[in-house]
């Protein structure tokens, strides 16, 4: 009996040791980020914090990689587009399976898009896909099927658009149109993206709670062997705590804010920081309408807006307020987007600004009010100081994000500071959705210029990127240099802190891709561990 017990104990110990050793040898990436608290259904949220997890699990037809190139993902190749630009024929990769074992077919694509347009889904990004024929009818509840979707066979399908839209397949490269398995998604019902998320991606969502998410390798991934056995997304809502955890070796990789970066300058952590260029632009949004709250609005006059631009010291904003993590903007289109062209820096000339104000009928300056969020306070206070030098009194109202969002959407803001980030490197996804006269009122901007609108519309119709580049250059010239529809300030950089063994980590756009390229240098990793 004693021998039996001894043998059992030994076996248990050996198993424990093996299990422990196995756990120790697992290659785990620990990524620290804020908890988005919006679930993980890419149709019902557009939060980049949630996208980190979604991007590991579910996949769209195309994919914007970290070099900002569009590549086919679940689609076998780029679409065949009809001559009139209305019909997109796409062929799916064959043999791709969802992690529940079911095959990816055109029926799943149909299901995904129809789910998106059902009113009860409350999908947030329908405006990126509602040019599909029948989408608007579904959204309004008039139709239950998507008229613009045709399944040719199990692996080939066609989208028909209401009007040509050259960026349509680019929008299909965004996670918001990730393809869901019909059967699993229907079975999950309201739990989809809350307790269940199944896709074709390289990782499987194993668990999710208030402390973070655990993703394990999809051993049957169609695209090859994923680099990690496990990815742990660990939530830190406090940036100081997150950086302390990084210093302590609790996480391998995390993002960092510019104010914290300053704190770590000159320390060992700075050597582990990597900069990347965000695709967006920070600008001072000016309300261009003739009146504001019943009174004459000085910002309706282009000379006042130009005077403001002349008064703002962009170099100071970038070097001091942004701690060098930004470069002065020369237009609204970011330097890494299709449509950018090199221009002279904006002039900083106080005398010229005063002269323009006098010409506009404000020789003694004027008073305007900025409604901003706390996060934009430092920049806005600097701008307040710059504008004061030419006689413009800028009052600052700091409100919480909810009030800011509602007031801005209602057109109740006279000016504000904000960053606007496209989801991929194309001006359509950036300035069309902010400054086109269909969109600008809901941003409290009220910019409207038929010539600008016509250029933006023309660029949507063209499938030739060289032609689109020219159209956007002209549009940005009108917006940023002639009309001063708003005042571009700077192109921001992002910062990530990565342990020395983390390699191949780059960030192309807003979405943090941790699932694909990133890996460990195992020599450094093993030496350090």
């Amino acid at each position: 009996m004693k021998k039996l017990l001894a043998a059992m104990l030994t076996a248990v110990m050996l198993l424990s040791v093996c299990a422990f050793a196995g756990a120790e040898n697992a290659k785990v990436l620990r990524f620290g980020q804020m908890d988005a608290k919006v679930g993980y259904d890419p149709q019902t949220n557009t939060n980049s914090g949630a996208t980190t997890t979604e991007d590991c699990v579910v996949e769209p037809l195309y994919y914007w990689n970290d070099q900002n190139e569009l590549i086919p993902l679940l689609a076998e190749d780029f679409p065949t587009i009809s001559e009139d630009g209305l019909v997109y024929t796409i062929k799916l990769r064959e043999g791709v399976k969802f992690t529940d074992g079911t095959d990816l077919t055109t029926d799943d694509v149909k299901f995904t898009f129809e789910r998106m347009f059902k009113p009860e889904t409350l999908a947030k990004s329908t405006s990126m896909y509602n040019m599909i024929l029948g989408a608007k009818e579904m959204l309004s509840g008039e139709a239950t099927e998507l008229a613009g979707f045709e399944a040719v066979d199990d692996y080939t399908f066609k989208f028909t658009l209401v009007s040509p839209f050259s960026c349509f397949h680019k929008n299909l490269g965004i996670i918001y149109s990730a393809i869901f398995p019909r059967e699993a998604c229907e079975a999950a019902g309201a739990d989809w993206g809350v307790k269940t998320l199944i896709g074709t991606g390289p990782y499987i969502l194993k668990s999710s709670d208030a402390t973070g998410n655990v993703l394990v390798k999809n051993t049957n991934y169609w695209g090859g062997d994923p680099h990690f056995d496990e990815i742990d997304i660990i939530f830190y809502d406090n940036n100081n705590t997150k950086l302390m955890a990084f210093e302590n070796g609790d996480i391998d990789l995390c993002d960092m804010t510019s104010d914290l970066f300053m704190q770590y300058q000159g320390t060992e952590v700075e050597e582990l920081c990597h900069h990347f260029s965000k695709l967006g632009t920070y600008f001072f949004v000016t309300n261009n309408s003739e009146t504001f709250r019943g009174e004459k609005n000085p910002l309706a006059d282009v000379r006042v807006r130009e005077a403001m631009s002349l008064a703002i010291d962009r170099d100071l904003l970038c070097e001091v307020i942004q701690n060098g993590l930004a470069v002065p903007a020369t237009g609204m289109i970011n330097q890494f987007q299709l449509g950018f062209t090199a221009r002279e820096p904006y002039e900083h000339n106080l005398e010229k600004a005063k002269a323009l104000l006098a010409e506009a009928g404000y020789p003694d300056g004027c008073t305007i009010t900025a409604t901003i969020r706390k996060q934009d306070e430092a920049d806005t206070v600097q701008i307040q100081s710059d504008l004061a030098q030419v006689g413009i009194k800028l009052n600052i109202e700091i409100v919480d994000a909810a009030v800011w969002s509602s007031e801005r959407a209602a057109g109740n803001v006279q000016c504000l500071l904000q960053g606007w980030f496209p989801l991929y490197a194309d001006a359509d996804n950036n300035i069309y959705t902010f400054f086109h006269s269909d969109y600008s009122p809901a941003k409290s901007c009220f910019y409207s210029n038929p010539e600008f609108d016509a250029l933006m519309d023309a660029a949507r119709l063209s499938t030739d990127d060289a032609e689109r580049q020219k159209l956007y250059e002209q549009a940005d010239e009108i917006l940023s240099r002639q009309d001063y529809g708003s005042i571009p300030l700077y192109y921001p950089y992002g910062v990530f802190a990565a342990q020395p063994y983390v390699k191949n980590f780059t960030v192309g756009n807003l979405i943090y891709h941790v699932a694909y390229d990133i890996d460990y240098d195992m020599d450094i990793y093993n030496a350090q561990k």
Binding site: L122, S127, D237, N238, N240, M244, D400, A402, A442, K443
Partner: protein, 312 residues
Amino acid sequence: MVNFLVRRVLQALGVILAISLITFFILNIVPGDPVQIMLGDLATPETVAQVRAQMGLDKPVWLQYLNWAGNMLRGDFGSSYFQHRPVMELLLVSFGYTIRLASFSYLLAVTIGLAFGILAAVFHNKWVDKVLMVLAVGGISAPNFWVAIILQIVFGLTLKWFPISGAKDFSYYVLPAIALGTRYAASIARITRNSMLEVSKQDYMRTAEAKGLRDWLIVMRHAFRNALIPVITVAGTDLGNILTGSMLIESVFQISGIGKLMVDAIGQRDLPLVQGGVMYIAFICVVIYLIVDILYAVVDPRIRLGGGTRSE
């Protein structure tokens, strides 16, 4: 005693009803449209209106309140607009974290607070008293988030004795419990000391000494017991504060408790979650005050007989 209990319970129910009414109507008039926030920048006004109708937010506020109150009485607090989970489920999960943090903090606060208070009173005007009261003033004055960061740097980052953040097991709660409990330990210590000193001047204390009772018996049976009423008041209030006011500590140590849940919900105008959270806090406070009132009555019979007041 039964009348006393019935009266207090009815008062508590009235308070909860009033709080539910006030918060519901205030939440509906504060600026910040949850539908606009939920749908984001690209939503058209038509979509916003359509979704508002779908969510029943276009109905009169009083009707929305009646619907909400009716559902609440059936235990249904609705679903979070953003997290898409039942409010009750989110509250229970967060409550689990908060109750663990609060329990450790409160245990620490009461144990250290009472010990320090009694010691300071016994050694009144001696160096022990002075040192402990300097510590108590320091504990009350130091902001808890500052204490938290110092603890993280010293005991987490430098000495590596405890984890810096998270809530996986007991070791994760040590630093947050100290950071949260310090202030309350200090206030309990001060009130215990003062109350004990007050009691020590009473005639029955001199009688006890004259009877030749042992010192510890005089302190614990006569002084401490009679000094308890103000201590119970402070300790009871502190329990409520710890349970409902640990937001900063939860944020610094990344503990997903009720405080953090509420702050995030308010920022997003997640109305069902805010309303549910407020009801939770109201319920906790009302129950604690009810228990404190009952304890008064147990400790001091004059209170339940209706002739006395708390200050007696």
